[in-house]
Point group: C2
Chain length 361, copies 2
Amino acid sequence: MNHSMTLEEIAKLSGVSRSTVSRVINDDPKVRQETRQRVLQIIQQVNYQPNALARSLAGGRTRVLSLVIPEGVTRLFSDPYFPILIQGVSMACNAHDYSVMLWLADPDYERRTISRIVQDKLSDGTIIASMLNDDPLVEALLEDGSPFILIGRNPTHENISYVDVDNQGSTRLAIAHLLRLGYRRIATITGPQNMIAGLDRLEGYKQAFRQWDLPIDPDLIVEGDFSEDSGYTTMQRLIPRRPDAVFAASDYMAIGALRAMRENGLRVPHDIAIIGFDDVPMAARIDPPLTTVRQPIQKTGAIAAEVLIDLIEFPKTGPRRVILPTELVIRGSCGTAIRTPNELDRTDQPDLRTTNFVTDS
Amino acid sequence: MNHSMTLEEIAKLSGVSRSTVSRVINDDPKVRQETRQRVLQIIQQVNYQPNALARSLAGGRTRVLSLVIPEGVTRLFSDPYFPILIQGVSMACNAHDYSVMLWLADPDYERRTISRIVQDKLSDGTIIASMLNDDPLVEALLEDGSPFILIGRNPTHENISYVDVDNQGSTRLAIAHLLRLGYRRIATITGPQNMIAGLDRLEGYKQAFRQWDLPIDPDLIVEGDFSEDSGYTTMQRLIPRRPDAVFAASDYMAIGALRAMRENGLRVPHDIAIIGFDDVPMAARIDPPLTTVRQPIQKTGAIAAEVLIDLIEFPKTGPRRVILPTELVIRGSCGTAIRTPNELDRTDQPDLRTTNFVTDS
DNA sequence: CTGAAAGCGCTTACAG
DNA sequence: CTGAAAGCGCTTACAG
């Protein structure tokens, strides 16, 4: 167990006061070059690293961000969504010399957990990736007044900072794509309806039908939880209802649905088409390659961290809302042929600046 | 921005000294019941939460663990290994009132990153899940003298604490299973050869052949990096060499290999058998279901955290080494029929207490 | 059982 | 440009 150096010792070694050493460490310009050099050399020499705890306590800032992710959510394992998100957060934090504290918390937190996250004062701010509506943590953070940001907008508090994608618009576009190809019995496997992403994607699905003056068949709407497993299970229920296409609110649900289709002898896209959401790496690799709405997951995490850091360093600036662009990636899983070309060729231009089409190379 | 309560204020409100409040908070037995109650009530009433920073600085312990995972490793995204591991760590930490600081660090750390992890003093100990041999972080931690534990043994420092599975033994058993079924041209897609798990699984593969007095064909050994993609790519190279079975050192490499097999018109297990490693959820779901070596990933993370916490709280106790049991899970991907029953039925009993056979329900 | 005091290792006005 | 001093919010011997 090495004895850790302190400011005091560096001061002694370099023949200055500890105030001066502190100033050198903090790049305070009003230190004589000569002095600075001497101190820096000593620091280098003994490989001194200031104690982050003491620094934070005295300075009032920890340079730590809390990242809260719902524990137990199957998506954590079935799907690289959260890993990629975490990496985005981590990279942005590294770039700004922040560290990240990870909380995999049960969504119905015990009161104690919330207190720990909120009042610990171990982090300067919080990123909530749980996206649950009416998350009690949000209320607690609001009350505490410490900076935080959500991944995914919060419908009950529109004045909270968040970063999100246009889930409604992107989904509308995906459904429109299927409609344009002639599909009519388009089912959807939704995300959890207690998460805004799940709600918004379902809403986008409905909007597309309304835009086209087509009826919505409630029998073709089933609720999943973003996991591969739920995609499989819900697809099994959907098959007897004979959809000709499916929009799954996540790629892994689409992968699960494909598994169910295969087991039931359905050929994709010949017998049934499918579109996913996310564009995780696996989407391009399955058979057939999955048409999907690509969202910038890593960037979402990075932007969340950056906006939060900004919020911490400039507290006056009001809540920030960031909407990141998505794009529809066309691959093999929804076919390309127009099935019933009659009267379908309406040029509905979606009002969606953030969404683009791309064709996968 | 709420004003945060301090010990001092609680003391004033409850008419005692701040020493007493501190004792109440820390469950010091030598406080009169009556006093304790009064203080606790005030604490409850104003929802006071002690400042963790100050507590740590004064107490010398932060109750924070650092978890270091190699960034950029494709496995982080292609595979739930790290997410499940993280969850294990997180759950154990929650249970012991520890928090976890996550470091997704480039494996060839900048010197600065190492310093931050090691000397920050923001955490009481470190879990290294990078498993890279000759990790500079290990040297730094060793020098610093602060407690840490590895996921995966370290061949150069056998006296470091770690938790691992018997990779050699498990693999030997998996290969023996294939040999017993009559396969002879058994290829392997190894893990990265700069990680001990990759090395040990390859070593187990070789050991099995030696045990059976069979030659090892270097053409049937290709190196992957645990990712689905590398499984696909290396399998493409392997196919012309006509293996009749493949042992992939991770399930996702097996999944990638299956993709290559399918594209080349090979039927599994009719034309070629395959065994994976990990038993991630997807293993049971692909077509055909994957025979694999199940390792307790979440438990590995949990045990690592628990042993580390123990090491922190009882520093004298020497290095701990934990080997967790694995089991061979037999599913459809390697077939069941003995192909060439002649002379194969040797009853080699592997010397492996930690490995069991199970058949998936 | 309780309090006054020193101390954890820093930062940051305040003087000079 | 530099130092002495107060302070961040706790813990923990030391007295009593």
